[in-house]
Amino acid sequence: MKNNVLIAGAGPAGLEASAALQRLGYNVILIERSETIGGHLARWDRLFPDGESASAALDSLIEGIWGVKCFTDTEITSANRLGKSFNVILSNGIIVHADAVLMTTGFDLFEASKKEEYGYGIYDHVITNADLEAFFRNGSDPRINNPSRIGFVHCVGSRDEKAGCRSCSKVCCATAVKQACEMRQAFPNSQVYCFYMDLRLFGRHYEDMYLSAQRDYGVRFIRGRVAEVSENLDGSLMIKAEDTVASAPLKVSLDLLVLMAGMRPSVSGARIGSLLGLQSEDDGYFRVMDGILDAQRSTVPGLFLAGAATGPKTLPETLADARAAAVEIDKYLSVTFPEAKDFKQLMRKGW
């Protein structure tokens, strides 16, 4: 007998965990709500800190899921407990008898239009970080018209109680620095400003990237949150912020404003979570058994969590979390279903 493991969400965490559990000898069913797999990674162009190609990274993740039953365009319609397992009905009509479920539902990007003062969707030259990645991938965006003055606004929908998200999204600072450098590469004559509240760049090589942005690309870092955006008569944008280091209000005309939209708990993830009886914390992310020692186990037996479903994470952290979840699931299934042990050992000898 082979244990079934259902994984909800085919982003980086779902893909990596599928691959690991498949190798451990489980029958993995991976479902994805959208038409394509890869999550936000599929929409990104290059990755910080070293500028690796996102599509190459995604390709190697997809290579790993050979043998996994993957259903795209599929959602969970209902789920209920059946003994030690879960009986899960999918929107494509398939019923899965899952011995363990892994939630890799990830995050949603903050809807930048909710920050009224930035005028996203109103002004012609205000875009988000995701829009900019799409521009890097496709090479065109009507809003980006050879800009000579470019501003990046950090913390859009992060560290903002008013917008309903108090926490830091962790990846935007690094993304902004990366994108700032990329913009200078794309538009060598441009001047780039980064408006930050606190620069939170803490990983290996991140400081090098920051230094390079300052030294090699001349990115101007201004400590102050952009709080008002208006339109000049020529269609350019007028930005107001405070330079808190100089302790004076500041204004600057820009041709392009990039909003670093932060991470929000996934709305569809929350829907599945409520079907399965998962608990969320105040910030909307799922509660884990223990933030330090047991960060992949949920409060429901047999239900596991990995990736940004339990809070903002960088890509390497997400992948590590997914592998850790695979180990946790293996541990859980070996204890809960000891009769499946022999088959697993047979499988593992084959590898």
């Binding site: 909710k114 009224e116 003062e117 008013k162 917008a163 208006s230 008569l233």
Partner: protein, 652 residues
């Protein structure tokens, strides 16, 4: 008190026994006095002294100009007519409550109007049927109250007129009793009468409340015991037969008259310290209100009449948007007024500062007690003294240095000439502070100006001076006067005949406090309505399903309800919200509150959003930058501004 039967009584009161002995005598007066009237008289005298002193105090605190205004208003036929109408509609019939909650309205009007009619009819009865050998003043002030005790008629000689009054008196007594029954019921199950929350009564309130509950049943019993002797109609006579069935011929009436008198006495003695003081004070307040007197101090002069006009009915509890959280009940207007009466400064300030100033309590108050204005007056006592420095306004309002006008010149849609006399054609658009944080409004309003070919200047494109309303709301009236002066100068020098505002907060203060000569002040919803009416904007129905949110300052604040709805009705399929117009809920973003924190505000926003989306609209449409930004962050459905909704549906 032990019950007495008629024989003991006869021994105690020779007059009564004499009366009993010769039943053929009509209009027998046992006496025009009995000891049981003492409690009532004592209570009433105390009450009247208190009221007289109170009136003198109030009038002494009112300035001479306001006094003159008041006396003039009494003789002015228009205000006099309004006074009479308001006194009947507000004090007696409680029309405002009827319109919202019929059962509650019935309860209030039954007690108020019923009691009023009992008193009036009682006095008429005395005047008409006063025994011949008694001078009109013989009975003193208690005589009409206990008329049925003092006057016994011969059952065989009932006059037609008498029975008519007997019927009326019984009818109104029954009317009051049904009201009292509802009031007792409301204490336990207020929700049936449409009230989720009711006021927590104070100890004096309880004393007065229980005596009020008892007054009318006791009156019924007392009058019923003697109804066969003193006359009665369907109620008292029927009750009389019942009592005879139960007690035989023993008449235990004396204790009931005592009890009735004691309850009345207690009620009137307690009245000045209770909510029931409103019964008289609201008359004074309505006269003040209609004379146009405004409170200048939170509890002295006009305000004293106003705060004692509050009946603690508690309608403001359910009205208050803060009360989505029960912990905020204590910040409601009814408690604010209660603490004003008690001079509890600490609590007064805490409540005054918390309020969102949405004005819903005022809109729903049966006697229009303007609690938001009292709160502003209270805030003024604290905040108006705080130092500030607006010396920069003097520099900026000089025409040459005016930064807003200097930069507004290129914003003119057509060539702007030199400053001339105000022309109605020329429009000045003043976006206000808040609209600068909601670019979608500015962009769409300018779009509408361009589409309609309006000749406009954008006064504060690069930022202006605040309109002054937030300062007024905080009680900083002196500071507000300075910014108002600066803005006024700027507008008058610009020579525009029409001032269009996109923020209801600005609109309210520009309309009410600026007195701009020759300048029409319009909210953009009104201006767009005019443009549509004159054919300068042609609209098509885009078929979207919208719900309209009434901003507090625009709706309740300025009474602009229909213009935005009429225009939105032309471009979309407008669905109703759970609460509309003057009942609408505050978005939670109001600048009115000084101390409400953002978490509590979020709760109000969530409640308002769910109320707006009961009919599952595609978008919430509002006409205020503050509401827009507040909803935008919390709403699961799209939030749009009025101007955007119109701009999207222009027909070529």
């Amino acid at each position: 008190m032990s019950l007495l039967d008629i024989s003991t009584l006869a021994a105690m009161f020779p007059a009564i026994s004499a009366a009993q002995a010769s039943p053929e005598v009509i209009d027998r007066i046992p006496s025009s006095y009995s000891d049981f009237v003492i409690p009532f008289v004592a209570g009433m005298v105390f009450f009247l002294c208190w009221v007289s002193i109170g009136c003198v105090r109030i009038f002494m605190k009112i300035g001479p100009s306001d006094q003159a205004k008041f006396w003039k208003s009494l003789v002015n036929p228009v205000t006099a007519a309004k006074n009479v109408k308001d006194l009947f509609c507000d004090c007696l019939f409680h029309v405002k409550i009827w319109k919202r909650k019929p059962l509650l309205g019935y309860m209030h009007s039954a007690i108020a109007f019923g009691w009023f009619m009992l008193i009036v009819l009682g006095h008429i009865e005395v005047a008409l049927f006063l025994p011949k050998h008694l001078s009109p003043r013989a009975g003193g002030l208690f005589y009409p109250i206990f008329y049925r005790y003092f006057v016994w008629i011969n059952p065989g000689h009932e006059t037609l007129r008498g029975s008519f009054f007997f019927f009326l008196m019984d009818f109104f007594l029954l009317y009051v009793l049904t009201g009292i029954a509802l009031a007792v019921f409301k204490r336990f199950r207020s929700i049936v009468l449409g009230m989720k929350n009711t006021t927590r009564p104070s100890t004096p309130d309880r004393i007065a409340l229980y005596s009020l509950w008892l007054i009318f049943p006791l009156r019924l019993l007392a009058e019923s015991f003697t109804a066969d002797l003193s006359g009665g109609s369907f109620l008292t006579l029927g009750m009389n037969h019942l009592l005879h069935l139960v007690f035989g011929d023993s008449l235990y009436f004396q204790p009931f008259w005592w009890a009735y008198s004691i309850c009345l006495g207690v009620f009137f003695a307690a009245m000045p310290f209770t909510r029931y003081m409103h019964i008289l004070t609201e008359v004074l307040w309505i006269l003040f209100r209609n004379a146009g007197l405004k409170p200048s101090h939170p509890r002295k002069g006009v305000s004293e009449a106003e705060i004692y006009a509050c009946s603690s009915c508690g309608l403001c509890l359910d009205a208050c948007p803060m009360n989505v959280q029960r912990k905020n009940l204590r910040f409601s207007s009814v408690y604010f007024i209660r603490f004003l009466r008690r001079h509890n400064e600490r609590k007064i300030n805490a409540i005054a500062d918390k309020c969102l100033m949405c004005g819903k309590c005022l809109a729903l108050c049966p006697v229009s007690v303007d609690a938001p204005a009292l709160r502003r007056a209270q805030r003024r006592t604290v905040n108006n003294l705080l130092p500030y420095d607006y010396s920069y306004l003097a520099r900026t309002s000089a025409p040459a240095a005016a930064p807003f006008l200097g930069s507004a010149a290129p914003a003119t849609a057509s060539a702007s000439g030199p400053v001339e006399a105000p022309s109605a054609e020329k429009v000045m658009y003043f976006a206000g502070c808040m609209s600068h944080l909601t670019p979608r409004i500015i962009k769409a309003v300018e779009g509408l100006f361009k589409a309609s070919g309006t000749d406009y200047v954008f006064a504060d494109r690069d930022g202006g001076i605040c309109c002054g309303r937030p300062l007024l709301l905080a009680g900083k009236t002196d500071a507000a006067a300075e910014v108002i002066e600066a803005n006024k100068k700027m507008i008058e020098e610009a020579g525009c005949g029409t001032l269009v505002l996109s923020c209801p907060i600005c609109y309210k203060v520009f309309s009410e406090e600026y007195s701009l000569k020759g300048v029409r002040v319009l909210h953009y919803t009104q201006y767009v309505k005019e443009l549509v009416g004159s054919g300068r904007l042609r609209l098509r129905n885009g078929g979207a399903k919208y719900v309209y949110h009434d901003p507090c300052e625009l709706g309740r604040g300025m009474g602009v309800y229909s213009e935005p709805r009429e225009v939105l009705g032309l471009v979309s399929d407008l669905v109703p919200a759970g609460h509309e117009r003057k009942e609408s809920l505050c978005c939670g973003g109001s600048l009115g509150s000084l101390t409400l924190n953002s978490r509590d505000r979020d709760k109000i926003t969530e409640a308002a959003v769910s109320d707006l989306t009961v009919n599952s609209p595609e978008a919430i449409v509002t006409a205020c930058p503050l509401c827009l930004a507040t909803f935008s962050r919390k709403s699961p459905v799209k939030v749009r501004d009025f101007s955007e909704a119109v701009l999207d549906n222009l027909s070529a």
